[in-house]
Amino acid sequence: MEIFELTIHELHQKLKAKELSCVEATRAMLARIESVEERVNAYITVTPEEALLEAEAADRRIAQGGMDILTGIPIGLKDIFITKGIRTTCGSKILENFVPPYDGTAVARLKERGAVILGKLNQDEFAMGSSTESSYFGATRNPWDLDCTPGGSSGGSAAAIAASEATATLGTDTGGSIRQPASHCGCVGLKPTYGRVSRYGVIAYASSLDQVGPLTRDVTDAAIMLGAVAGHDPLDSTSVDTPVPDYLAGLSAGVKGLRIGLPKEYFIAGLDPDVKRSLDEAIALYRSLGAEIREVSLPHTEYAVATYYLLATAEASSNLARYDGVRFGLRSEAARGLADMYAKSRAEGFGTEVKRRIMLGTYALSSGYYDAYYLKAQKARTLIRQDFLAAFEEVDLLLTPVAPTPPFRIGEKLADPLQMYLSDIFTIPVNLAGTCALSIPAGFSAGGLPIGLQLIGKPFGEQDILSAAYAFERETGWHKRKASL
């Protein structure tokens, strides 16, 4: 097994045993990136110099006896994470040359533990998308089939895992942007409960929906990463002040007696046959492991996508107002006068999908429409959340598909944005409800493309979904298959 294929915990053992140094591990990673990047395009910015300096510091730290499970581990960060001194673009032209003067909290926490930052990963522009095709820096390709998308918006984060261009990565999930690409790239992707991880230093898309989470090779790594970044942050008023459990502690709890719910609204007739097959096999496996499977209902599921595309776009229309060419980011050379500067900078700087969502969101908030759209959507959101809370009275977690189909071809869904939106149908409700969920590898399509399965937990129930996922992973080993690049 190559160094770049190791998990965090495997690499940690080797570093601890001094089988190799952090610098060597980082070098191996950088070399791997160099050899496959041209085909994958997972990274927007690779930072080899900074990474090697950090690796050197990690080696010194280990020599002084201050080692941590993340010390020296090479990590990739979605380009939505503010990194001090390192260009942060959010996949957009409008921030093409933006170099932040500060580090976000999640980034700082990883750095504190001695993690090494390899670079910034590609994404849909401003996290708006499900395929990474809207990135100003070109699409990322799915390492399992370079003609397919890796999903989105954290496409680069997922592809980097699949292509072994990072040991672990961090992404964000607003409507499925960690889970869906994780599913499409055959890796683990976790969206924590809203408020579990600080949003300070995460470029905002939809403030009440965005959450930071890991994409990793296996469940153990996800538990490690979550533990490193979770916890109250006084700089984020929406971060929750409750203790962070040891996510590694209960991993092998097993699923005997666990009540798993199957929301009937998710197992729709038109589900892709490969996806259905993988899910059926997974359900049978859980049963055989001693879990109790029962059907539940989330009756307001059909309103989720519409609700999301009103609320997320409304918040985004406001969050993206700061990109005005005044203090940072692109300012149009052609502009004459204030209004012109605003109009031209934003017209030139934003891509089509971003503009589309800003307009949609502005409309939903505008006078005369606020009640019918924004307010109504907020009410629907409450009902959707209540559906989940009611279900969790009967079961411990929910099992669902992640995406209705295996990964689609690049360009396939671009003709009709609505088609793209509807593909988020299984992931969106979780963000609206504010609870946690993860995607784990659950098989492959006939064409050899990854299929993921989603486990949804109750609010702050990350331990339960991690242990249920761990049990599945142990039995199946889907996560061990590697893309051949």
């Binding site: 003067p101 995460v202 008023s237 107002a321 700061r322 203090r327 908030l365």
Partner: protein, 479 residues
């Protein structure tokens, strides 16, 4: 007058917290541009607001002092619009659910008391400043200074209850006094700590339906408020007289010409698309917190004025002057505590003390003569040790040197002469010297009495006890 003016006022008060409302930057005025900023108040990507608890406390104080009910739950909302001094492209304010509601202030105009309703008070962040003047190397361009961005503001909105410019001014002065008294705002109009926008409309006398209003902005003194409102009243009356209609718009006051002009074309009618800010949680204020704050409220000017008049027996005028400033009231009361004769103390505080401070350009808080020394001086007068006239001289010396009055009196030998024998001796001396005047006095020129008194005082270098001089002289002349 054909028309009745209806005035509503919106006042923005800058709060004197040490740091901004949503970040830890300093709120100090006058720093180098953009030196008091951070990612949060600069509106950088990824930055998030965190509420300064002190701002809520100040809002509660303002609400209690204006008889508002304090909302147990209030919500921050985003007010969205584009302008270079607004870094995020939205202002965090409060919309549907403000922190204070339904208060009032009582004002007095020409002896008549009137209650002006306060619709609401809410918290919000201030924008930065635009500088359009010619700056070296910048020329025609405008510059943005974001030091002021995110400074906490309280917006106080009145009901449209005012019916004359004088009522408007009385309300503003009262509100101004209250916020300064509470210690939540420094009330500096020139620096923009206390900003007033006026909503002015006209309706036919006797009508109950309000007319269309214009909003007047950029008024930074009480004098200009009166000017702006009066100009606006004339402008609107002219339009209505000609059968025209008033356009609801924002108008900028020009202090140079005393007129208002339309801002249309600059900032059009905005749809601010208010929605609750998802980055902030609702502000919860429980009864315990309210009581905690209530306990820290100072006695407000109105209550103090009443107490000074009723309990200390001061005339209305004195009570009003002394209660107007918290520091002045404190000085006064501290002195009375040591010398319990309120009217006398009042005379001296409003008289000599204020005069000396004014000449020196100082405020009462910086008085070189502390209450204790003033009280000592007044005790000396009461004991007959010095006369009032001499006391004034001693006071000046106290002010100049900070020395105790007794020491000054001793040093300069200013002890009042109350020895009957000594005074009689001087009187005899004077009457002997001024034999001619004496003769005239005896023949009816009674006015010369004052002359003799003057002479006695001169010879005694002002130290003769004036009351005794009068008594003894009268005896001599009549006896």
């Amino acid at each position: 007058m054909k028309y009745q003016v209806v005035i509503g006022l919106e006042v923005h008060t800058q709060l004197t917290t040490n740091t901004k409302i949503f970040c830890g930057c300093s709120t100090r005025f006058g720093a180098t541009p953009n030196s008091q900023t951070c990612p949060v108040c600069l509106g950088f990507p990824g930055a998030l607001p965190v509420l300064n608890r002190k701002v809520v406390e100040f809002a509660i104080r303002a609400g209690l002092a204006t008889n508002c009910s304090i909302a147990p739950r209030s919500v921050f909302a985003r007010k969205n619009y584009f302008y270079p001094d607004l870094p995020k492209g939205y202002q965090i304010s409060q919309f549907d659910l403000p922190i204070c509601l339904d208060g009032h202030l009582d004002i007095e105009v020409e002896g008549e008391r009137k209650r002006i309703g306060i619709t609401r008070i809410h918290m919000e962040e201030d924008a930065g400043k635009l500088v359009h003047a010619d700056l070296p190397g910048v020329g025609d361009d405008s510059c943005v200074d974001l030091n002021r961005a995110c400074t906490p503001l309280l917006e106080v909105v009145s009901e449209p209850d005012m019916r004359s410019p004088d009522e408007a001014i009385a309300y503003l002065k009262k509100l101004h006094q209250i916020v300064v008294y509470l210690g939540i705002c420094d009330g500096n109009l020139e620096e923009g700590s206390f900003r007033c926008d006026a909503n002015v409309s006209l309706m036919p006398v006797g009508s109950t339906t309000f007319g269309t209003r214009a909003e007047l902005k950029n008024i930074n003194s009480f004098k200009f408020i009166k000017q702006a409102i009066e100009y606006e009243m004339e402008r609107q009356a002219e339009i209505l007289d000609e059968g025209g209609r008033i356009i609801q718009e924002t108008r900028l006051f020009d202090p140079g010409t005393g007129t208002t002009r339309s801002m249309r074309g600059k900032e059009e009618a905005h749809d601010y698309r208010y929605f609750p800010d998802p980055d902030l949680v609702p502000v919860i204020v429980d009864a315990a917190w309210i009581e905690e704050v209530r306990a820290t409220l100072p006695e407000l000017p109105e209550a103090k004025r009443t107490r000074f008049a009723a309990e200390l027996g001061l005339p209305e005028y004195d009570a009003e002057v002394l209660a107007a400033s918290q520091e002045l009231a404190h000085y006064f009361e501290a002195t009375v505590a040591l010398f319990p004769q309120p009217k006398t103390v009042s005379n001296w505080v409003m008289g000599e003390v204020t005069r000396a401070l004014n000449e020196d350009g100082k405020g009462i808080a910086d008085s070189p003569v502390p209450p204790a020394l003033l009280a000592d001086l007044l005790k000396l007068i009461e004991a007959g040790t010095i006369s009032v006239k001499i006391a004034k001289t001693v006071f000046d010396e106290m002010y100049r040197t900070g020395k105790e009055p007794a020491a000054i009196v001793a040093e300069k030998g200013l002890v009042q002469v109350s020895d009957t024998g000594a005074i009689v001796a001087i009187i005899d001396e004077v009457l002997q010297k001024e034999a001619g005047q004496l003769a005239e006095y005896r023949s009816g020129k009674e006015k010369l009495f004052g002359f003799f008194v003057g002479q006695v005082m001169r010879i005694s270098k002002g130290k003769a006890n004036p009351a005794l001089v009068n008594e003894l002289l009268l005896k001599k002349l009549n006896g």
